[in-house]
Symmetry: C2
Subunit: 231 residues, 2 copies
DNA sequence: TTTTACCTGTTATTTTATTAACAAAAATTT
DNA sequence: AAATTTTTGTTAATAAAATAACAGGTAAAA
């Protein structure tokens, strides 16, 4: 029997992958597929089939031997776990390029996450509508968050505004913050925080490019005297 | 003695944190500080002081007892490891909101990563300049990448263009790709790929908000009969 | 009908990452 | 000058994540 709330012990990485699986599954569904093998999901996500099966084992979803997983069923099971059944309302704070990019990303995705408001300090943006979302003044931040029962704050303000804005969000009783700004912020216990910094990943890629090049250079140095038998 | 190329075995997570430390250190330096303790770095990054010290141990950097780490020195050591000394040239493919957001993020950061070109398919954008970076037609992608010796491609195109664009980047001999687009892409061996999907993190935050709420609800159910001795 | 190939589900093992524990050394206090 | 505090650097222990190994069952092929 499925233990009640078993999913509360799912590894963080599994949660992330479930979200990714679901998006891949939607695409497959749109392409007319009804079933999918673990190795197919794995290939899309650049992971191993075992990992896929292990994740699905953890959420106690079973496929059919030699037929794979029923895509629609699996989507439903994943959604049951990761979505709030009443939906979660989110706001974007900072309607610059980044904020608007996130808005476009999220719009039309088939999940229970609903962006209901944007905030900015720029008078030219206040009152305007982006992708169907109204942009309020940051001055109204606390009021609107409370009024509309917004639980998730997407922080896409410049670094120097991050700290203050976070404080306002916390004051308003926000439940989770996704910080896209370049500066880490602090939140009290009970507020879930995820820092999502674009520069780190960029510098990481640059590092591994550099490292690969250096390793190639060394390999060719070593190979040449021996007339390069390696590949 | 520092073993040559010791840093090639650094854990991936350490590489990520080094990038983060460095940015935090720049800010501290700007604020007039000269030294910093491990617990101070830790607090900024929401990690433990042990982890900071362990990372610095791995890069064989030593601080001064009871004085902490010399900020400028540490910045230099980290830079020595993660930066390519000749710099790495990067291009942004897709000059929509996301691409321009990344551009703004990176501009003026004191690292050896240089964004030298943008690409887009929209005729209105081609030939224009964003943040000082010229936007080329995607048709010229392969040529420009080769001509300018661009090694890092930042993919910020819509999902349906991701696959084709990646192929062009690979054809042009790109060394690393950071994929911000909502669809995973495939690259051959020798090309370093990092998928950096905004939705996953967003859904993760939503999940933990939901979970925290459910746990609170349960806790209050359990607490009430006993007149709530918990805090 | 038997054999083979294929694919799932699960446990065991290995690897990677984090945290704890503590020795040593310098500044500060008593 | 002895004791205490603070902070580093390192090793040891634990936890989390990924991978390997393999049992078992089903469809297809021989």
């Amino acid at each position: 029997m499925r233990i009640k709330n078993y999913y509360k012990n799912l590894p963080h990485k599994t949660i992330e992958r479930l979200s990714q699986y679901r998006r891949a599954l939607f695409i497959c569904l749109d392409n007319g597929k009804t079933h999918i093998f673990s190795h197919e999901i794995a290939q899309i996500q650049h992971i191993t089939p075992v990992q896929v099966r292990r994740d699905l084992m953890l959420i106690e979803y079973s496929g059919t031997l030699r037929k794979g997983y029923n895509i629609q069923d699996l989507i439903d099971v994943i959604s049951d776990i990761i979505d709030d059944k009443d939906g979660i309302k989110a706001a974007i704070i900072g309607m610059g390029n980044l904020g608007r990019a996130v808005l476009k990303y999220v719009r039309g995705k088939r999940n229970k996450l609903e962006i209901v408001a944007g905030f900015d300090s720029n008078p030219e943006k206040i009152g305007k509508t982006f992708e169907g979302i109204k942009c309020y003044s940051v001055e109204d931040l606390e009021d609107e968050i409370k009024k509309q029962n917004i639980k998730l704050g997407i922080l896409s303000v410049p670094g120097d505004k991050a700290k203050d804005t976070t404080q306002h969000l916390v004051n308003a009783g926000i439940k989770g913050i996704l910080n896209y700004s370049p500066k880490p912020v602090n939140v009290p216990d009970g507020v879930y925080l995820e820092e999502y910094d674009m520069i780190t990943t960029l510098e990481k890629v640059a590092f591994y490019i550099k490292m690969n090049e250096e390793m190639e250079k060394e390999a060719s140095k070593k190979d040449n005297p021996e007339k390069g038998k390696g590949r």
